[in-house]
């Protein structure tokens, strides 16, 4: 299988700032790939290298086996859905969508037909005559999507496309993007700082921190087997257990992560803890527990009696749920 996008030791430095630092990355053809990380972690810079808006200061990029250095964005078979949509304010919706076809010199009737089809694809038919400014955020999002897809790109880049939408709309768009991806079979590369979005949508996730890729894997791997404290913390706010505590349990002096939902309340045995905070969330309750030497967060189902602040409880977990990490950083 060819790699849709291949990064080898790609760096992008702005003076002393290392926006990207020796990034190696392989995005496979047809996969839904998420780039996840806090703001300023380099994920958007990475996307801009693929789109061609920016050139790396060092390293090598290939797109479908062809070198991308020095290739301007308008010669790449890659299209982008911009964070704030970047719709052309002087054109109506149909002309916005047909823009790429117009540039390629495709006749008016044909490009409008293709644009209508693209608008159908994103469930936005019949709005062609409106101006971009008259649409709601969700509609603009769809227009931006149609405008990129109408060019039949081999890679679709999405830069935090759902960031500006409210929760309900975002969840709906997540579903629709997944459906579109299955339907079109092209490569999607999706930048987000929202770990839930990355985990729920992507086939694979690359986690960025300070210009580096810290872990690449399926959402389950990233969640269950974080390789560092950063990953454990950033994805699903895990409990990070210090080496001396881990040593007392499994004899190995390593950092370990323990997911809050792996902790269960028991009648007796296990570890004794006192409840510091207790937040009832409906189906589950989030507890902060004091074990004397360390503090743990637990997510317990709210089926039995919910512990309140000050309660002494017994907690336990399966040794297997405790994941030993490669590094403590």
């Amino acid at each position: 299988m060819t790699a849709a996008v291949l990064f080898s030791k790609v760096s992008r430095h702005y003076g002393l700032v290392k926006a990207l630092d020796e990034v190696d990355l392989e995005v496979l053809e047809g996969e839904f790939f998420a780039m996840l990380g806090p703001s300023g972690s380099g994920k958007t810079t990475c996307l801009r290298q693929i789109a061609g808006f920016d050139q790396p200061t060092a390293g090598h990029i290939e797109i479908f086996g062809e070198t991308a250095e020095g290739v301007p964005p308008f010669r790449r078979n890659v299209n982008t859905v911009f964070q704030d949509y970047a719709l052309f304010p002087h054109l109506n919706v149909l002309d916005n969508v047909a823009y790429g076809l117009m540039i390629r010199g495709i006749a008016k009737t044909e490009r409008y037909r293709s644009a209508e089809e693209a608008l159908d694809l994103v469930a936005l038919p019949g709005l062609g005559k409106r101006r971009a400014g008259e649409l709601s955020g969700g509609q603009r999002q769809r227009v931006a999507l149609a405008r990129a897809l109408v060019n039949k790109p081999r890679v679709l880049l999405l830069d935090e496309p759902l960031g500006a939408l409210d929760l309900k709309l975002r969840e709906q768009m997540q579903e629709e993007l997944k459906t579109l991806h299955r339907q079109l079979g092209i490569t999607f590369i999706f930048v987000t700082h929202d770990q839930n979005e990355a985990l729920s949508m992507a086939d694979r996730v690359a986690l960025f921190n300070e210009g580096r890729v810290v872990q690449v894997g399926t959402p389950q791997e990233i969640y269950r087997q974080p390789n560092s404290r950063f990953v454990a913390d950033f994805v699903g706010s895990s409990n990070v257990l210090p080496p001396d505590f881990v040593a007392s349990l499994v004899g190995s002096s390593r950092w370990a992560s323990l997911r809050p939902e792996s902790i269960r309340l028991t009648e007796s045995g296990g570890h004794e803890a006192s409840v510091v905070t207790s937040n009832f969330l409906g189906g589950s309750t989030r507890l902060a527990l004091d074990l004397g030497s360390l503090r743990l967060h637990a997510m317990v189902p709210s089926i039995s009696v919910v512990p309140v602040v000050g309660d002494k409880v017994h907690i336990d977990w399966n040794q297997g749920d405790m994941h030993l990490m490669e590094e403590g950083v």
């Binding site: 789109a51 808006f53 308008f74 982008t80 719709l87 002087h90």
Partner: protein, 300 residues
Amino acid sequence: MRRLADTLWRHPRLLLLLMLAPPVLWLGVIYLGSLAALLVQSFFSIDEFSGLINYEFTLKTYRELLIPANLDILVRTVSMATAVTLAAIAVAFPIAFYAARYARGRWKAAFYIGVMLPLWSSYLVKIYAWKLVLAKEGILNWLFAKLHLTWLLEAYLSLPLIGGNSLSVSYTGTFLVFLYVWLPFMILPLQAALERVPVNLLEASADLGGSSRQTFRHVVLPLALPGVIAGSIFTFSLTLGDYIIPQIIGSSRLFIGQAVYSHQGTAGNIPLAAAFAVVPIVIMGFYLWMAKRAGAFDAL
């Protein structure tokens, strides 16, 4: 004092009215009023024998505007204004584009000073300075001589219409000085318009396959068009109305501004002067209407 503040807060329209009254009085009554009074004059006529104004509604003065000698003045002025405006757009665009897209910090300050500095000195001083530059004994001639290009200048000056005895008495000279004097009025609105074009629209265009030229043609230009129109209103109407530059630099043939000046002054033909003054207003109105129809303001 407090009661006044409370009352104004409760009646925002009153506050607005108080704030607007002085400028509206100034602009509406004194400025526009006197302009209207002038325009009314254009529908009167002058009695050729007594030289007195005949206060009866007539289109006679406008007919007079269309006699060949006067029509010449109109065509000459409008052609000059068009040429100056087109040249100003061509010269201003790269400068404004640089200032809006690339200049930062110190360079941006240098840009503003560079563009505004000529506006700080007297208009007459600048024109006389140009007269020295363009004169037969001036710097430009000297420069051409030093470069052994005098033949080129002479060949240019021997051209009909745009040539002349020297640059300072040719239409080219008038054109150059107009261009220089009005250029800031094109650069500044253009720069403001270009600055409002978000960078990501240019990226989006490139992303969708647009080369730099296509992006310029389909995104930058349409979005900068309101700025171009604003700038061209300045350069066009200022050229249409000016009566000093063509008097000092150029052939002695009249422009609209000079015609208005002489008719309302020495000739005492206020109706004809008024009719001349109406022409630029009509042209600008028509120009704006065309621009609006062409969709120049759709992006606003």
